[in-house]
């Protein structure tokens, strides 16, 4: 076996796949024992492989990645499934009690529903789902109520947003049109890499939203990815804001970074 053959065999047969009984492997090993040049080549290969492996594994894990993944998985899993029904006779009386409790629960739910309807509160999930449809449709306008003229109504206060961020047709929207309680528009900003990022911005009075976000600013909020859409929601000055983009939450984290840089 010559040097080229031996080196090719040794290259191919590293790790656990090297069968001691393989005659070609035995011959290549014997060649290696006698050939100083091949030993140098093999040693160099191994050192370089280790160096490559070290660099390749040295990928910094983004801060908060595990939490974001757990949050996304939690959202995907949702509530735990109802266990299968037990048909044994000993359970019949328990089911009767259960029916009474369920009826009472339905009554309670109806009462809660009536209360919520009277107060016109909408869950943040409901709002974001509607906005996802709007994002898919690539249109802007009110979500649930009223007529909306994007040329006319522009929002005043969008705290902590960088100057490069352009909010289309939103200044003064909420102060002038209180009946237009929840509104959606497109937004765009320049990423650090120079790309233009477009998404959807929801602005709603805090009082209209149930289960609103806890974060007090965009930079303090945690981006969430779900079903192809990433969103970040925060609460500020009596309004709930939600920024949404297609795909991963990288653009939102970029936006948060820009906001942090601006505010510091």
């Amino acid at each position: 076996m010559d040097c080229n053959e031996a080196l090719a065999k040794l290259e191919l047969s590293r790790s656990e796949a090297c069968a001691d009984g393989d005659p070609e492997w035995v011959a290549a090993s014997a060649h290696l024992a006698e050939c100083a040049r091949c030993r140098t080549v093999v040693t160099h290969r191994e050192e370089m492989d280790r160096a490559i492996a070290t660099v390749c594994r040295d990928v910094p894990i983004p801060a908060g990645l595990e939490d974001r993944l757990l949050e996304a998985v939690g959202a995907e899993l949702g509530p735990k499934p109802v266990p299968p029904r037990d048909n044994s006779a000993s359970q019949k009386r328990r089911r009767s009690v259960g029916r009474v409790a369920a009826a009472a629960g339905l009554l309670c739910l109806a009462a809660v529903g009536l209360f919520m309807f009277a107060n016109a509160r909408i869950s943040l999930d409901h709002v974001t789902q509607a906005a996802v449809r709007r994002l898919d449709a690539q249109t802007a306008g009110p979500l649930f109520t009223g007529d909306y003229d994007p040329q006319r109504f522009v929002l005043h206060e969008l705290p902590n947003l960088p100057p490069s961020m352009r909010m289309d047709a939103f200044r003064d929207l909420l102060p002038q049109r209180p009946e237009l309680a929840i509104a959606v528009s497109q937004f765009e900003f320049r990423s650090g890499g120079g790309g233009l990022v477009r998404g959807v911005l929801i602005v709603a009075p805090e009082g209209r939203i149930s289960g609103g976000p806890a974060a007090g600013s965009i930079s303090a909020a945690t981006p969430v990815y779900h079903s192809g859409i990433s969103s970040v929601a925060w609460n500020n000055g009596g309004y709930v804001y939600v920024c949404m983009v297609h795909g991963g939450d990288g653009p939102l984290r970029e936006l948060q970074r820009q906001v942090r840089e601006q505010t510091t």
């Binding site: 660099v55 894990i61 650090g192 991963g248």
Partner: protein
């Protein structure tokens, strides 16, 4: 925490394997944004297909298979004209270059060299040399014979070393470099 005999739980799988999956995704895509996106997609799909995982001890390979399939789907989608979102938004923090200083390798050079390889050579390299899967595990994940994995590893690694050494000696990498099939 799941042990080898308990039912698999995606929450545990996130805690145990998210760093590995992110590294794999990053080295496949070369983008932090896409890598995180891909990792999340992998876990969301794992939630939906968890009943396919019978043995928790094989979870790492199972998740890598899902991730690779998602990545390949993206490649196919991109061929139809859709660009990955945020491709230029984020650049990865530079790892400590001193570890590979003897060979003049840095993370960007390595990523460029990996990126120049076709996926069927890149994946086994990442999985074998950097995540320490066995030939058999890689063959299972890629659904190819072990001999094919060995051949791809050998050729891919030779190309990788040559490209990195050329870069060290002659300057920046040529991104159009391609391995001969």
């Amino acid at each position: 925490m799941s042990d080898a005999h308990s039912s698999p739980n995606v929450i545990d799988l996130v805690r145990q394997h998210h760093a590995l999956l992110f590294r794999y995704a990053y080295r496949l895509t070369g983008s932090v944004t896409d890598a995180e996106d891909l990792t999340q997609e992998t876990y969301l799909q794992a939630c939906r297909k968890l009943d396919q995982l019978r043995d928790v001890q094989r979870a790492k390979g199972w998740l890598c298979t899902i991730l690779r399939n998602r990545y390949l789907k993206r490649l196919r989608d991109n061929e139809q004209g859709e660009l990955p979102l945020g491709d230029k938004l984020a650049t990865i923090a530079e790892p400590n270059p001193a570890k590979a200083a003897a060979f003049g390798i840095d993370s960007d050079q390595l990523q460029a060299a990996l990126g120049a390889l076709p996926e069927q050579f890149r994946s086994p390299l990442i999985l074998f040399y950097f995540e320490e899967f066995s030939y058999q595990e890689i063959a299972d994940q890629m659904d190819v014979p072990v001999g094919t994995v060995m051949s791809r590893l050998s050729r891919g690694n030779a190309h990788l070393r040559r490209t990195l050494l050329d870069a060290a000696h002659y300057g920046p990498l040529n991104n159009s470099a391609a391995i001969s099939m």
